[in-house]
Amino acid sequence: MKTTVSIEVVVLLAGLLFALGIVGVIIRKNIIFMLLSVEIMLNASGLAFVAAGSRWGQPDGQVMFVFILAMAAAEVSIGLALILQIYHQHKSLDIDNLREMNG
């Protein structure tokens, strides 16, 4: 059960996942995929927190993860509600079609 891992590797893994999440957010035009990518990013940061907490043997990392979880739940519920709404109004999930500002 005992593992010895270097903290760098864990944090790097989190970073890599986070970067993948970013890529996902940017390259996808479909809002659902963007929301998924955001979830990935949240998870990655949760991983980093947990890793840090375990490094020092403190519960704080996990506490943070719990908060992230709560936030993710809230975010997803609102986000999905919005997606539904958007889809009904615009018949599309293309983020570029949804621009209404005249930039």
Binding site: V25, I26, M34, I95, L98, R99, E100, M101, G103
Partner: protein, 629 residues
């Protein structure tokens, strides 16, 4: 008598104020009375004060009268002080006397003009300024008069302001002389810095202790002051304004641009002789400039058509003689020539004015002719002036004054054979163009009918001046003519004796040569313009001579040169930069802000992906900075 000194300039000033403030309400007659009367009174006061001055010469040979302190800062102090010595007396006499005659002449000449009062106001102001100039006891007050005459000259050249050409001529006159004035102002600063005062007599008294002879400082100071003189006296290289200044009414040309103002430079150099005496270089420069100017202007005068332009160039040329005399150290000769020149040149201008008016404002000499019998008074008086200008031996005043200069240009300490040669050829040219002018105007066929003859008020001053132009020469006779030196004796309290070189040749020879030059000049003019006018045409056909003629006619191309080198670039720079380049900097900042705003507002596109990109880039930057640090 010295407490009446202030009256001399005050009278014209009073005339000016009355005319300027109330000129509209006055009738023409009263304008004439105020305008001319103030000057006549001033002339009268001059004669009385001058007589008293000469009769009971005070110990230090000056009358001074301090009116009030102008301003006083620290160690600098300028007072409004008038001072009369023999040098200024000569000038004051010439100014008021000739001025009075010219004013009388003008009352008739300007009779028909709309702005009668304005004319006399300006003329009175001019006389006032000129009197302040010559009576000033310090250089600053002199500068006041100096600029004042410039202003009046401007006003009077541009008197007929409706024609743009007149306005331009006026502007040119003021600007060109102003260049000299600016140099002179710097000269004043140098004088003050070194001498600690601007009072002329103090400078004169202490000059040798203040400056090392022939030091660079004194040379520069002298040259800067000289620059002022060159501007006012229309000497090389600032001579271009004077011919154009003939746009003004003829009495103006007579008073300002022949008799008085243009000789202010001569007065300045004579007045500051203490400084100039200390610098060999400066005097050489004066002499060379004088010689060059007299030759150049003489040759130009030979080619002009406009009678007033001929006279203008001859004025430049004659003042060149005065500068030559000053340069070689013949101070009194210069002043003598100034006085004689003032008489005959004023006469010539007034007579020319009379002719021009009679011929319906015809200036071209080639369209005159045959006036000898039609206008006898004008003819005879003009002849008297012309004789003097040409310096016909023995019978004209011009001969005595000019001969003296010729003589000194070789024999005085600063003289040299080259200068003499130039002066002699100048005499020949002078005689030639004078003859040409006389013949074209008075002999030959009549080309333009004579309108009306000048009245009494115009001819009277002509006659008086003619008498003076003939007889004024006799107050100073050459050494071998009985050595009668009334004039130079008079001036000696102020101006030093002319220092002569050793082993000088006989004066007879010089007089003979000068007379010969004059006569041959007359002969040349007579030959080409009276006997065989066809020859002129032949000469003109020669390509080389024709282009030379054009070159001389244009005043040796100075106008074009200045136009090209100074005026055009100035206007170009000025026009190019009309909307102010430095403003670009600030509008640039404003425009950049505007651009930034547009750029940033473009980023507010509503596109989520862009926002996230922005976030990522920001994160990259922040992390990058952290790595760098």
């Amino acid at each position: 008598m010295d407490k009446y000194l202030w009256l001399i300039p005050a009278l014209p000033l009073g005339g000016f104020l009355i005319l300027a403030l109330a000129g509209k309400q006055l009738t023409r007659a009263s304008v004439a009375i105020v305008g001319a009367g103030s000057i006549c009174l001033s002339a009268l006061v001059t004669i009385i004060v001058g007589g008293a001055f000469l009769a009971g010469m005070p110990a230090n040979a000056v009358y001074t009268q301090t009116l009030w302190t102008w301003f006083e800062v620290g160690e600098f102090s300028a007072k409004i002080t008038l001072t009369l010595d023999v040098l200024s007396l000569v000038f004051v006499f010439v100014i008021t006397f000739i001025g009075a005659l010219i004013h009388i002449y003008s009352t008739a000449f300007m009779e028909a003009d709309r702005d009668y009062a304005r004319f006399f106001a300006s003329m009175n102001l001019f006389v006032f300024s000129m009197l302040v100039l010559v009576l000033a006891d310090n250089l600053l007050l002199m500068y006041l008069g100096w600029e004042g005459v410039g202003l009046c000259s401007y006003l009077l050249i541009g008197f007929w302001y409706e024609q743009p050409a007149n306005g331009n001529a006026a502007r040119k006159a003021f600007t060109v002389t102003r260049i000299g004035d600016a140099a002179m102002a710097i000269g004043l600063f140098m004088v003050f810095q070194q001498a600690g005062t601007l009072v002329i007599s103090d400078i004169g008294a202490n000059a040798t202790t203040i400056w090392q002879p022939d030091s660079t400082v004194v040379t520069i100071t002298a040259l800067l002051l000289l620059a002022g003189g060159l501007g006012k006296s229309a000497q090389l290289p600032l001579q271009t304004w004077l011919p154009d200044a003939m746009a003004g009414p003829s009495p103006v040309s007579a008073l300002i641009h022949a008799a008085t103002m243009v000789t202010a430079g001569v007065y300045l150099v004579a007045r500051m002789h203490a400084i100039f005496a200390l610098s060999e270089t400066a005097r050489l420069v004066i002499a060379v400039i004088g010689a060059a100017t007299l030759l150049l202007a003489g040759l130009t005068a030979l080619t002009q058509y406009d009678i007033k332009r001929v006279l203008a160039y001859s004025t430049i040329s004659q003042i060149g003689y005065m500068f030559l005399a000053l340069g070689v150290g013949a101070w009194t000769a210069a002043i003598f020539h100034f006085m004689v020149h003032a008489f005959f040149k004023a006469l010539l201008f007034l007579a020319a004015g009379a002719i021009i008016e009679s011929l319906h404002h015809e200036h071209n000499m080639f369209k005159m002719g045959g006036l000898k019998d039609k206008m006898p008074v004008v003819f005879w008086t003009f002849l008297a002036g012309a004789l003097s200008l040409a310096a016909v031996p023995l019978i004209s005043a011009g001969f005595y004054s000019k001969d003296q200069i010729l003589w000194y240009s070789w024999t005085a300490n600063g003289g040299s054979p080259v200068l003499w040669m130039v002066a002699l050829s100048g005499a020949l040219i002078t005689a030639a163009y004078t003859t040409r002018m006389m013949i074209l105007t008075f002999w030959g066929e009549s080309h333009t009918p004579v309108g009306h003859l000048p009245g009494r008020r115009m001819t009277m001053p002509l006659v008086v001046l003619a008498v003076f132009s003939v007889f004024a020469g006799f107050i100073e006779l050459p050494h071998n003519f009985g050595h009668f030196t009334l004039f130079s004796d008079l001036l000696h309290p102020v101006l030093p004796e002319t220092v002569m070189r050793d082993n000088i040749p006989s004066e007879w020879l010089f007089q003979l040569l000068a007379a010969l030059a004059t006569l041959s000049g007359i002969f040349l003019g007579y030959h080409y313009y009276y006997q065989q006018p066809a020859r002129i045409e032949n000469l003109r056909r020669n390509g080389l001579l024709a282009s030379l003629h054009r070159f001389w006619f244009s005043g040796w191309g100075f106008d074009a040169l200045y136009d090209r080198v100074l005026v055009k670039p100035f206007i170009f720079i000025s026009k190019v930069n009309k909307s102010d380049v430095t403003d670009r900097l600030y509008t640039g900042i404003a425009a950049a802000t505007g651009e930034m705003y547009k750029l940033l507002s473009r980023t507010q596109s509503g596109s989520l992906r862009w926002y996230i990109m922005g976030l990522v880039v920001g994160a990259i930057l922040i992390l990058g900075i952290q790595i760098m640090l």
